[in-house]
Symmetry: C2
């Protein structure tokens, strides 16, 4: 095996996003033991930083030792028991995955399906609740990474409270990029991932549960099917005074997350959200100027992940290859029914900068001119520049 | 939050072990996407390195995106279905955990229990198989991290073949430190962890399955209860040509593992095993010279993890605190019934050096003299030095 030389990449896909140099420095810190008093302080800092991000006072706020999908699985398998019905909003890959995990723990997934790119209207949930028998929880994807759709959460929470059922929210592509107000919105279980708007390498899943959710975990009739993700056991390590060994924490990843949270804290969430909004608007203006229209409607477009439809006349795979090979830029293709039909462009965390927006638009223009689907040089860049000049 | 300054630690506990500077360098490499062609090559290299370590030709040889316990869970939940009986050797924390996971997937754990520190005699398994109904698998811990016991595997494999049942082996504290011969011994499912004898940070679980085990996975009557750890889905990303997205791989951790595998390859497995044996013998000679006797009997003592009983006259917790605070040395205490009664000293991977052995013995002597349980200065160091002079 030879030395590994990573090529230079501008990460503008659906994740991972660019990682700050300070975070790369932190991840290479020599290790201490996972029960070392120093490390327990690192965990405390991570918990405090995550509470700030989730806008919650929840004591149970941790980083699950796995990627975002492990966070999803932890959220579901701890709440859902065999026979439990869960209403799941299905409008993309991650809603589909939520429903699959509900079924794998013996639950019944009542799927509310809408076309990919659309959102689940809160009244659809209210209506389904009136038709169905007892329901334990509603599970929704706040930011659907496969479509770029921005799901409203707060109105659904009001419905859940009325029916006394739990609300589980996937905030993988939203946390740290757009507001996620766990306490104010009344979210009971919320999880995310580190490699999106937190700009930390993949490998941890932030997760928070409020007292209502913890009480459901505590009062289960059956043990959680997963030992690794059993939150009643993990709580002994993360949140109780005894700090009892459960499994060995991914120490280096937690060093990285701690530093990523510091970087976020220094910028401040309001500035960070404004930065994501502005860069997204500028990129969108540029993309639309060259005929790439967003899939979701204007009222539900995520600033963190833009999904644009690619005209059939463009060989989308060839363009992505050229972006990667010639310009070192990664963007994402479509998944499932959107395969070959859309591009997914992430402007998350450290990746969301004016320079990156202009670099990508310039590269797309170059390729488009070469292949004949862009006729006016500079048109995308000008549209973006206009947004920046107005936006400030 | 302030800058994090990690204290200097000599990691001689049950894991994590010391990480090579080259591995810390590799983990801080800027990221590429998890579907980037460059990254797929990293995965290929990791697979090749792991096959070498496991001494296997198994195509399905991967790193699970979680710590060692996730590897254990992946091994069990993919093989065991509701109603399946599994014989589990229980002689410490990790056998107990295996049995718990078998039960959590609706399996029946037939536990063969022996005292902690002892091994499961192969004939105990043969006898139990004659008494019990159909059994799907036998699960054993090769290197029991909670006791330092070294379980023979090959004779059990012969029994499994005779009865046509699968053999699942936990190689968390053995892989890379003592021989693990997956193909030659006929192990069907074998998993490990990165933070022990591989000297890589915790966060990945090497896992290998042979065709017999994969066929059991393929012919399940029910879907695997875990979506995150479902090997039939993960195979599409790791081992098939399509490299289909399942979950975002922990990219930085895989960079680290690749480099750790290179370091191992450069040393060579025979030299590495010899180094672990020699340092362990020297440490043991030193410890016995100051009255600390090993828990397991001479025929089943691991060189990677020494478990010594602490005389009741010594305040073991106070000594560990002094080691940590005064000397920056981490060793482990006992778990479960051994709590307060033993020390667990790891000499794994980069931590297994003559310098570390002498440093620890010197520190223990200093503390022992101060507290009156060592009377002859230099006695432990001399015993170790003698082993080194004879051993070479």
């Amino acid at each position: 095996m030879e030395d590994f030389h990573a090529p230079r990449r501008l990460l503008l896909g659906p994740g991972p996003s660019a990682v700050h140099a300070r975070v790369l420095q932190a991840i290479s810190t020599p290790l201490v033991g996972h029960l070392d008093p120093t490390f327990l302080n690192v965990m405390n800092d991570v918990q405090a930083g995550l509470r700030h991000l989730f806008a919650t006072m929840n004591r149970f706020t941790i980083a699950v030792s796995g990627t975002g999908s492990a966070g999803m699985e932890a959220a579901v398998v701890n709440i859902v028991e065999p026979g439990d019905a869960v209403i799941v909003g299905v409008n993309g890959v991650f809603g589909t995955r939520l429903a699959a995990i509900v079924e794998r723990c013996g639950g019944k997934a009542i799927q509310i399906e809408v076309a990919w790119g659309q959102i689940i209207e809160p009244n659809m949930i209210a209506e389904r609740l009136l038709q169905s028998g007892p329901v334990k929880a509603v599970a929704l994807v706040h930011a659907e990474t496969s479509t770029g759709a921005w799901q409203p959460i707060e109105p659904v929470s009001a419905i859940c409270r009325k029916h006394n059922i739990l609300l589980i929210v996937d905030a993988v592509t939203s946390l740290g990029g757009i507001p996620v107000e766990v306490d104010q919105w009344g979210i009971d279980v919320c999880y995310s991932a580190t490699q999106k708007c937190l700009s930390c390498p993949p490998g941890l899943a932030p997760l928070t549960l409020n007292e209502r959710a913890l009480s459901a975990v505590k009062n289960r009739r059956t043990p959680c099917q997963s030992w690794y993700l059993d939150l009643s056991l993990i709580a002994d390590y993360w949140t109780e005074h005894n700090r009892a060994y459960h499994h060995t924490a991914p120490i280096s990843m937690l060093y990285a997350l701690r530093e990523a949270l510091r970087v976020i804290e220094e910028e401040g969430l309001p500035s960070r959200f404004a930065r994501h909004r502005l860069n997204s608007r500028a990129l969108l203006a540029g993309l639309m100027a060259i005929g790439l229209d967003p899939l979701p409607s204007p009222d539900c477009r995520l600033p963190t992940l833009l999904c644009v439809t690619v005209p059939a006349s463009i060989d989308e795979g060839a363009v992505r290859s050229q972006l990667l090979e010639r310009f070192g830029i990664e963007i994402g293709g479509g998944l499932g029914p959107l395969k070959g039909k859309v591009w997914r462009i992430g402007l998350m965390g450290e990746s969301s900068t004016e320079a990156n927006v202009l670099t990508l638009l310039n590269a797309l223009e170059e390729i488009g001119i070469q292949h004949g689907w862009v006729s006016t040089p500079g048109i995308a860049l000008q549209a973006a520049a206009h947004t920046y000049s107005v936006g400030r």
